[in-house]
């Protein structure tokens, strides 16, 4: 956790003071060093949630379910980060806080999807049933994402062309790339640290649940 905080501090310091501002967009472009790593962590978190759920269905290890739960929750936090940092950039650059662009819509529905996942978890008391239901919803959610992606892209798009996941390579000056990768690393470490904390909490909650059911 300490390592994560220190790395985050380094990455953000570098992004704010030691990376030149972009010529056309000015300071607003700096939000990119928060926006893209948050999106990366959100996708990583949801992907791992689905995989952990799928594996759980076969080996039924409670730790996998606790990981899925923690990862989904941390993923929702980072998706919220994406949804907040995007409009902050969109207002000066696009002139609007929100537009119904394909990527924005997709992210918004991801957010809804995993909020629903967390609400479902909170509505089931039995740990085994909770793990089963959420594993199924987690897997179907992963199946759904390509479909939402496809349909909102056919609908309309306005988001800047990806400059990192681009077939022609990363379209950025080297100093910005370094900052970006430092930031990506810092966010990933923060994700791992948060999931670890959250899993420890879930383990204690489950232990308490076992104790209280054993007494009855």
């Amino acid at each position: 956790m300490l390592a994560a905080v220190l790395l985050m501090a380094t990455a953000l310091t570098r992004a704010i003071w030691f990376t030149p501002a972009e010529r056309l967009q000015g300071l607003a472009q700096k939000i990119f060093y928060v926006h893209l790593p948050s999106a990366w962590v959100a996708f990583l978190a949801f992907g791992l949630t689905a995989i952990a759920g799928g594996v759980w269905l076969f080996i039924k290890d409670a730790r996998l379910d606790r990981f899925a739960e923690s990862s989904a929750e941390v993923g929702v936090i980072f998706t919220t980060g994406v949804l907040v940092s995007g409009p902050l950039w969109g207002r000066p650059i696009w002139g609007a806080w929100w537009v119904w662009d394909a990527r924005l819509t997709l992210t918004l529905f991801l957010w809804f999807l995993y909020l629903g996942y967390l609400v479902l978890r909170s509505a089931v008391d039995d740990p085994e049933a909770r793990a089963r239901y959420s594993a199924v919803v987690g897997i179907l959610g992963a199946l759904l994402i390509p479909f939402i992606h496809l349909s909102v892209y056919l609908f309309r798009t306005q988001h800047p062309t990806p400059i990192v996941a681009n077939t022609a390579g990363i379209q950025m000056p080297a100093v910005m790339i370094k900052t970006l990768f430092l930031s990506l690393g810092a966010f990933t470490v923060l994700y791992l640290a948060l999931v670890r904390q959250r899993m420890a909490l879930a383990a204690e909650r489950d232990a308490l649940h076992d104790l209280s059911t054993a007494e009855r």
Binding site: L57, F109, F112, L113, L115, G116, Y117, V119, L120, A123, V124, D125, A129, R132, Y133, A135, V136, V137, I139, L140, L143, L144, F147, I148, L150, S151, V152, L154, F155
Partner: protein, 231 residues
């Protein structure tokens, strides 16, 4: 002794569907409320609409699909609600049929339910909003059936899950609506194109999404359903 062998997967699914439809036909409680809900929402939408500013063909697709989606959800919830009383679900589970067949049967019954609601709502939209659907009824029916399959399949699975939770009525739409995006969005787009007098060829991309969604999710939901049941 002639009935020693249990029926096959689709035959047993049909029996489950028949059972659900027979219950629904005799009580008619869910269908009546879904019908009234869809008519009511059509009427309420009318008051939120300024006919002098926006043409009826421009609002109709949205109204139609929002109505279909929400009144469909009403029937889906009941699908497992009837099994909860007197723990009828346990009897269904010990029956000599596969769990996949239970799911397919329930989904088929729900499909009939949703199509039934559509058959009431569509003429009502035509009447209240003064729109001629008769010229595009063929392609529109195709879109409605494709969408209904996707809606009922995902909805039936989630209804099964949420029926065992607290606040089931609230949880079902929260879980299911994000899954309805790749159905309602294409369906409303095709409806809009058809109403604007464009040929179906222009909407083939959307139809393909609907078709792919149905194929993937009918398969995935049928496979996933046994995992949602207690062993």
């Amino acid at each position: 002794m002639s009935r020693a062998t249990p029926p096959g997967m689709f035959a047993s699914a049909l029996i489950v569907a028949q059972k659900d439809l027979a219950i629904e036909f005799r009580t008619r409680s869910a269908f009546l409320s879904a019908m009234v809900l869809s008519l009511l929402s059509l009427v309420i939408f009318y008051f939120a609409w300024d006919p002098t500013a926006v043409a009826a063909v421009d609002v109709a697709p949205g109204i139609l699909w929002v109505t279909f989606t929400y009144s469909g959800l009403l029937g889906l919830h009941r699908s497992f609600g009837v099994e909860a009383a007197e723990r009828a679900m346990d009897a269904l589970l010990v029956a000599p049929i596969s769990r996949e067949a239970i799911f397919l049967g329930k989904a088929m019954a729900n499909l009939v339910f949703v199509i039934g609601v559509q058959l009431v709502a569509l003429p009502a939209v035509s009447l209240f909003y003064n729109l001629p659907f008769s010229s595009i009824i063929g392609p529109l029916a195709l879109v409605m059936v494709l969408a209904a399959i996707g809606l009922t399949c995902v909805g039936t699975l989630f209804a099964g899950i949420t029926s065992n939770t607290r606040m089931a009525e609230l949880l079902l739409p929260v879980l299911a609506l994000p899954f309805f995006v790749p159905i309602v969005l294409p369906a409303a787009q095709v409806t809009a194109k058809l109403l604007a007098g464009r040929p179906l060829d222009e909407s083939l991309g959307w139809i393909r999404i609907l078709l792919a969604f149905d194929l993937v999710f009918v398969y995935a939901c049928t496979l996933a359903f046994p995992f949602t049941l207690e062993d």
